[in-house]
C-alpha cells in the first residue's frame, strides 16, 4: 500500500516536472514573442502616423549593414510602404491601407496574447492541482492559505 503510494507520488512529480513545467516555459516564451510583435506594430503605426502628420514625401535614413555599420539611404517616395503580413510575405500599402492593416493586426495580436495568458494560467492551475494531490497522498496538513490582501 505504502509502496503504491510512493509510486503514485513519483508519477505525479514526474508529470509536473517533465510535462507541465516545460509547457509553462514554452507558453511564456511564445507569449513574449507575441508581445514583441505587438510592440513592433505599435512602433510602425506611430511612425506612419508621424509621417502623415508631417506630410513627409521623401526620407533620409541610415541603414544598418550589420555589426553596427551604417550607410545613408534615401527614400524618394514614401507614399508606398511594404508591410510584413506574415509567412515572409510583404504587401505594398499606401499609408491609410497600412494603418488599417496594422489596426487589424494589433487586434489579432491582442487576442493571441489573451489566449496565451489563459493557457499559462491554466498550466499554473494544473501544477497547483497536482501539487495539492501529492500533498494529500503524503497526508501533510493543508497549507495555510496565503494571507489575503484586505482592501
Amino acid at each position: 500500500m505504502d509502496n503504491l503510494r510512493q509510486q503514485k507520488i513519483q508519477k505525479y512529480e514526474e508529470f509536473v516536472d517533465k510535462r507541465l513545467k516545460p509547457d509553462l516555459l514554452h507558453a511564456t516564451a511564445q507569449r513574449d514573442k507575441v508581445f514583441e510583435q505587438q510592440k513592433t506594430f505599435a512602433d510602425l503605426r506611430r511612425n506612419i502616423e508621424n509621417l502623415e502628420k508631417n506630410s513627409v514625401t521623401s526620407l533620409r535614413t541610415l541603414v544598418n549593414l550589420g555589426s553596427e555599420v551604417y550607410v545613408q539611404a534615401e527614400v524618394s517616395n514614401t507614399q508606398h510602404i511594404f508591410v510584413d503580413i506574415g509567412m515572409g510575405f510583404h504587401v505594398e500599402f499606401t499609408w491609410s491601407e497600412a494603418l488599417n492593416f496594422i489596426e487589424k493586426r494589433e487586434e489579432k495580436i491582442a487576442r493571441q496574447i489573451e489566449e496565451y495568458t489563459q493557457l499559462i494560467a491554466s498550466i499554473k492551475a494544473q501544477i497547483k492541482l497536482v501539487c495539492e494531490g501529492i500533498r494529500e497522498l503524503l497526508e501533510f496538513p493543508a497549507e495555510k492559505p496565503a494571507p489575503e490582501r484586505i482592501f
Binding site: L65, S67, E68, V71, A73, S76
Partner: protein, 355 residues
Amino acid sequence: MGTSRRKGSVVPLGSQFPLEEIHKASKRVQDAITDKNNELHRLQTFLSDNNNLVNLVQKLPEQLSHDVMVPFGKAAFFPGRLIHTNEFLVLLGEGYYADRTSKQTVEILQRRGKTLDSQVDSIQAMIKDLEAEASLFNATASEVEDGIVEIMEEYVENGSDDGESESESPMEDAPSCGNDTATKVEYASLLSKMDELEKQEELDAQNGDSSEETTVDFDHSPYQRPVDNNPQNPEDINQATPLDRVANNNYFANDLRKKHNHQEDIADQLNFASLAVQSQVREGKNLSQNVKSVDASLKHPISQAASASKIEAFTGSIVEHAENLQTSSREQSSTSQVSGSQSLKPVSRFKMQRR
C-alpha cells in the same frame, strides 16, 4: 603511502576512483566541451558575418547608389536607394560612432576579425584541453573496468649532488640555454665564471697574439707601406700609450721566450691589451731575431689562442688580428677581416713614422 619503508601498497584502482565518479566527471567534461563547441560555433558565425560585411563594404563604393529596400522598423520597408556609398558610420563602442570611408571601415572590421580569430584560437585550445581530460577519464574508466591495481612504493632518494653539477656543466657550454632555464642569480654566477674563463683565454690569446703579430708584421710590411689613407683613430691610440707600459713591454719582449706566465701582469689590464700588443709590435721589430725563434716554439699556443679568440669575437681589435693572422690568407678578406687589417695597418705606419 606504505607504512613500512621497504614495502609498498597495492590498491585496486576501482577503490580509489569509483566507476560512477569517473562517469560523472566524464559527463561534466563532455558537457563543458559541448558548451565550448556552441560558443565556438557562435564565434565562427560572427567571423563569417564579419567577412561578408568586409566584402560588402569594399563593394559598395563601386557604384554611386544602390537600389535597396530601406527597412522602416522591423515589419516594414520602403523602396529606396543607398547614397553616399563611401561614407559609413561605424560604432566604436559605448555609443560612440565615427564617420569612416570604405577603406577605413574595412580596416576596423579586419581588426575586429583578428580579435575574433584570437578568441576562436583560445576556445579551440580549451576544447583540446577538455578533450584530453575526457580521454584521460575514459582511459581511467576502462582501466577500472579491467581491474587494474595501483602499486605504490616509497622512493628512496640518492645523493643528488652529482646530478646538479652535471646539469650545470652543459650550461657553461651553451650559455644561451642557461639563460632560458636558470634563474637570474644562477646566470650571474655563471657569467662571472665565464668571465674568468675568458680572462684565462685572453691571456693565452695574447700570448700567441703578440708573437704572431710581430712575425706577420714583418711579412706584411712591404704591402702596408703605400697605404696612407688610414683612419686617424688607431694612431691616436698608439700615441696614447703610456711610457711605463712601453717599458714594461720591453721587459716582456725580452723574456718572451722563457716566461709566458709573466704575461699575466699585462693581461690583467684587459683594456690596454691591444695597446700592449701594438707597442709590442714595435719592440718586435727591433728584436726580430728573438721573436722569430719564439714563433717556432709558440706554434701550439697560437692555435689555441686563435680558437679561443673566436669565441669572444666581440671584445676588440686583438681578436680580429688573431683571426686574420691565423688564417694568414689575405685573399679571403671579407669585410670584417678588412676592418681587422685596417686596425693592424696603422701600427706599421706609426712605426714607420717613428723611425
